[in-house]
Each structure stands twice: as structure tokens, then as C-alpha cells.
Amino acid sequence: MAQTVFIEAINQAIIEEMRRDENVFIMGEDIRRSVYGATANLLSEFGEKRVLDTPLSENGFFGAAIGASLVGMRPIVETLTSFMWVGMDQLISQAAKMRYMFGGQATLPVVYRASMFYGGGSAAHHSDRSYPMFMNMPGIKVIVPSNPADMKGLLKSAVRDNDPCIVFEDGTLAGMRGEVPENEDLPGDELIVPFGQAEMVREGTDCTIVGVAGGVNIAASVSDQLAQEGISVEVIDPRTLVPFDKKTILNSVEKTGRLVITDPAHKVCSAASEIASIVAEEGFWSLQAPIQKVASEQVHIPYTPALEPHVYPDVEKVTAAVKRTLES
């Protein structure tokens, strides 16, 4: 298996899908010169018609992607979570709602790739982790890969999916290396990761940690460290938040009796809140201790490195949460 960087995994997925289906095209700001790194080599292979540099008009080109998808194309749109506010109307009023509103007539196979820059001094305007908002609004599939292989396999699934998808690309993972299987080693000669299937990242018996996006690595580290202290922590990566595999989580909590959730989103109405509420409703009798949410503090992302790290979940906070739940 090849060691592949997260951002390269994105590039591989795009290239494979554009080769496979000529209706796939990509648009975004400065993608021809691959300013953000994921769109390298596309222009030379696929040409200007299928690799579109857009004006700064997120609402306009988010919508143009929707329109193109309605008439048979499969657009991939590159953007940042923080620029999605500008194009929110197209995402919510059109992408999420059209199919239902038109009684199933509209099919919108459009993929938004939204980078989440956070943790690197990008400050409040460039550090959004907005997937909980898209969980609240039905109609968009919410994809949160936590490693290069899933990134590749989930993005390929998104391109083939017939519903609008937002793939939240966690910027803290951009340089992460991981094993991505070679196509020839795979059944069907390609890497597809299906939606709605959580992955068991670590098995354990004392406590379950559900990690979201970059939170998965934190959870895995906590599990590894606590193993040294004889504490056995199970780690689950939901991989997609819509659809959501609650069964794997409920089963795990049934086994461990304890649940910690680590989510880089702001903690109020976060994915962590939702998962906690599901378990408090459907897994209540399994719980032997209070659920612990470890999510970002309810402040904006400060620029200064002296403050920024204190906003997010980290190994220390998650370890403390696991210990709290074990002690109570």
C-alpha cells in the first residue's frame, strides 16, 4: 500500500472520477493553478471546459453547479467552509430543497468540497467548521473524512451519489500521510467508501469515543495512550454525518457503557450534541455515566497562537473527559 498525503488523495479521487465519467467537471477559484493543492494536473489533462476558474461569486457559481447537475452534469465545486456563507442561499434554498419541493423530479449530483482551515492562525473569517448547520437542514449529505484513504473513497462515492454532498475537508489533516490502497489491489479495481458506515478505529471495552473529522486522530491517540494505563477505549469514526450510522455507536456504548464525543465544531448544536442526544434517547439504558462532549469553545477562532489551540478539543481534554466518565 502506498503512503499518500491527504491532499493527494483528493487529487487522485478527482482525476479518477473525471476519467471515468465525462460529465464530471470541476469549478472553483484559482483551481487551474491549484492554489489550494488538490487540483494539480487537472487543467492539462481535462482542459478548460472541465476545469473552470470562477469569478469571486460563490452564490453564483454554487448555483451554476446546481443547474448543471440538474441537466446531467456532475459538478465538483471547490471552496472553503468560510466562503459558504456567501453562497448559503444556493446551498439551502436550492441544493438541499429542490428535489423534495419538486416531488422528486430534480436530481442534483453536485459535490461541494469545503476545506476547513483551522488551527493555523487563519482567524475568525477562515476557520469555520460548519457541518452541524448542514446536518440540521435535510437534503445534503455531510461527509467528514478523517484520513487519506477515506478521503479518497468517500469523495469518489460523493461524485457518484445522486444527491448533493458537501465533503468537509479537515485542514488539520491536509498534510497527513496514510495508507491508501492501490487500485489494482482492490475488488473492482478502485477505492470506494460507502456512506453511512462508521469505522471502528480502535476496539475497546471501557469507554467509547466518537471522533468527528480531525477528532478521530485525537481519539485514536487518547486510546493508544490510555491503553498504557490499562484503560481500553473504543474509537469510532462515523465518516459521514448524513447519513449517520447510529447502530455502530449504540452497539459500542452497549458494550462500554460510556461515551465521549470529540468534535472540532462549536459545541452548541454540534455533531457532538446530536450524537449525545441520540444516545441519551436510544442508548440510555446502556449508559453508566454522563456523556461527555468535547467540542470547540463557544467563541470565534482567535488569530493568536497563544489562544487558538485552547478553543479546540485536544488529547488532553479528551483524556480528561474519558477519565471523568470512568470515575463517575
Binding site: 467537471f25 471546459k49 472541465r50 473552470l52 470562477t54 469569478p55 461569486s57 452564490n59 453564483g60 457559481f61 454554487f62 448555483g63 451554476a64 453547479a65 446546481i66 443547474g67 448543471a68 447537475s69 440538474l70 441537466v71 446531467g72 452534469m73 459538478p75 442561499d89 444556493q90 434554498s93 436550492q94 429542490m98 428535489r99 423534495y100 419541493m101 419538486f102 416531488g103 422528486g104 423530479q105 430534480a106 436530481t107 442534483l108 449530483p109 435535510p138 437534503g139 449529505k141 451519489d161 445522486n162 444527491d163 456512506f195 453511512g196 448524513v242 447519513p243 449517520f244 447510529k246 441520540i278
Partner: protein, 329 residues
């Protein structure tokens, strides 16, 4: 331009269809037969009908809240439209969309949007697909004078221009957004004057004259199909009725004078088209009246169809959410 006889009569038929559909909607709405709001297109029929007469079934349109005229003008079915207003399973959207969200994907009606300006980028996208695929279809976006102030319009016109897309922007300038005069909200005299800011032709058309609307649109469609890019057409028109059914607070005459309304009513688009048709010897008064009568009948049948169509079952609630279904949480 020399317009085909059949096309003229098709336009007349569609305009009567819209007029009679809307009259029926007003009647059954005030009788309480359905509850949601609806925005009558009466007085503006020539705009959509003239514009859509220049299109093929394989071309696309997208529209707005004033939503019955566009699909009928594009050749949509009044029975499915009426059933949708009644919230029935046989409606265009199985009752899920209602008045503001008619759509017929079988003939390129991409759907009406209740959020103003919001369907315009979508229409740009259909044109983008034509450009990428190298196909000849065009796309047409309807929006009001009020909506022309939305940022979405600016972005859409700019995108269409820099990408040279086959799209026609049709501003239905009926001079008011609810109670607000367009003179108070549009900084320029004519919305079509804004075309120069996007390096595209901007054409101001008498929106009461279906033939003028057809000719302007046909020429823009010709440009678009030839690869010469987008156009902006403004049809200057007038809403004869109030902004919407069920918005009782705004009384007639409160924001516009009776005199203004009366003057515009004298320029009824149906009178104007019939006058042209008859004076050019394309059809007689009797033939025109027969067309009108025929549409009254069709609308009547459509209303019966709607009334007899069942409501959806509660279990239908979850259908149509996803193309590739997922478990509901």
C-alpha cells in the same frame, strides 16, 4: 420578423390558458378550496408566453414566486398545475411544492423558486452545461424588477457573460415589488440598462405585446445558440391584480392609483395580441373567441381533475427526500 401563423395561435392559446387558469385560481381560492398563497400573473401573460414561444422543449426555464405563467407558457399542463395548487398527488410535485414551486422536468421547466433571485444562478448552470457539452440548448431565467436588485443577479449576469453562456435573462418589470415601486429601489431607469455592466445586449420591450416579446427573445435565443452569449431582456408590464392571494393587508390603491391600474388595463396583452392576429388576417374574432373558450374548458377540466385527485398519504411524507435513499433519523 415574420411569425408563423401556428406560433401566433399557440401564443394566443397559452395566454388565454394563463388568464383563465388565474381567474379560476382566484375563484377557487376565495371559495377556500385550497389554502396556500398564490401570485396571479394576470396582465403579464405576454411576457412569459412571448419569451417561451422562442424556445424548444429541450430548452430550459427557471422562474419565481409568480409562478403559474411561466410553466404554462413553456407548454406545461394545467391539470397537473392545478392539482399541485390543491395539494394533490397528481400535482406536478405530488402536492409537495404548491403554487410557488411548479416544475416539469420532462419539458425543461426546472422549477419556480420562492426565494427571489435564487433560481437565476440555477438557470445559468443549465446554460453552462450546454457550453461544456457543446450542445445547442439554451436556458431562460425569469425574475422581477424587485429581484433584479439581488446580488444573485449580478453574479449570474457576470458569470454568463465571462463564460459566454447561452442564457437569456428576462426581467418581468411589473413596476412593483409587493407595494414598493421599482423607481424607489432600482437605481437606474431601466433594468435593461444594466446589461452594459455585463457587456451584453439589454433590450427594453413592451411587455404587453407578445409579438414584441417573442421577437426580442427569438433573436436573443438565436445569438445564444450561435455561441454569441447571453442577453438581458426587460419586458415592461403591469400586474393587474394584487401581489398575491391571501395577503389581505395590502388594499388596492394603497400604493398605486386606480387611474394607473385603469390605464394599464387598457393595454391588456390579450387585446393587443388578438388585435394583431385579427388585423393581420391570421384568425377571426370568432376563432380567437373559440380559443379562449377552449382554454376555459381545459381549465375547468383541470380543476375537476385537481378536485378528484387524492391527497397524498401520510406515509408519502418521506418520499422524494433523497435520490439515493438513506435511513431517516
Amino acid at each position: 420578423m415574420d411569425i408563423d401563423r401556428d406560433l401566433l395561435l399557440l401564443m394566443l392559446r397559452r395566454m388565454w390558458m394563463i388568464r383563465n387558469f388565474e381567474l379560476k385560481v382566484m375563484e377557487v381560492h376565495s371559495a377556500g378550496e385550497f389554502a396556500g398563497g398564490a401570485h396571479p400573473y394576470i396582465g403579464e401573460e405576454a411576457v412569459a408566453v412571448g419569451a417561451c414561444a422562442a424556445l424548444e422543449d429541450t430548452d430550459y426555464i427557471a422562474g419565481n414566486h409568480r409562478s403559474h405563467g411561466h410553466p404554462i407558457a413553456k407548454g406545461g399542463r394545467v391539470d397537473k398545475a392545478m392539482a399541485e395548487l390543491y395539494g394533490r398527488v397528481d400535482g406536478y410535485c405530488k402536492g409537495k411544492g404548491g403554487s410557488m414551486h411548479l416544475a416539469d422536468y420532462s419539458i425543461g421547466i426546472l422549477g419556480e423558486s420562492g426565494i427571489l433571485g435564487s433560481s437565476v444562478p440555477v438557470a445559468v448552470g443549465a446554460a453552462l452545461a450546454a457550453s461544456i457539452k457543446g450542445e445547442k440548448f439554451v436556458s431562460l431565467a425569469f425574475f422581477g424588477d424587485g429581484a433584479s436588485n439581488q446580488g444573485a443577479l449580478h453574479e449570474s449576469m457576470n458569470l454568463a457573460s465571462v463564460w459566454n453562456l447561452p442564457i437569456i435573462f428576462i426581467c418581468e418589470n411589473n413596476q412593483y415589488a409587493v407595494t414598493t415601486s421599482y423607481a424607489d429601489t432600482v437605481a437606474v431607469e431601466h433594468v435593461s440598462d444594466r446589461a452594459s455592466a455585463y457587456n451584453m445586449p439589454g433590450i427594453l420591450v413592451d411587455g404587453q405585446d407578445a409579438i414584441a416579446m417573442y421577437e426580442a427573445t427569438a433573436s436573443a435565443v438565436g445569438r445564444a445558440r450561435a455561441g454569441d452569449g447571453p442577453s438581458l431582456i426587460e419586458g415592461l408590464t403591469y400586474r393587474f391584480e394584487e401581489h398575491s392571494l391571501g395577503l389581505g393587508r395590502v388594499r388596492r390603491g394603497e400604493y398605486r392609483t386606480q387611474e394607473e391600474i385603469d390605464n394599464w388595463r387598457k393595454r391588456d396583452p390579450l387585446d393587443i395580441l388578438e388585435h394583431n392576429i385579427i388585423s393581420q388576417g391570421v384568425a377571426t374574432r370568432e376563432e380567437c373567441d373559440a380559443i379562449n373558450a377552449k382554454t376555459v374548458e381545459e381549465v375547468e377540466k383541470a380543476t375537476e381533475f385537481a378536485r378528484n385527485s387524492p391527497f397524498p398519504e401520510p406515509s408519502d411524507l418521506f418520499d422524494d427526500m433523497w435520490a439515493d435513499p438513506i435511513a431517516f433519523p
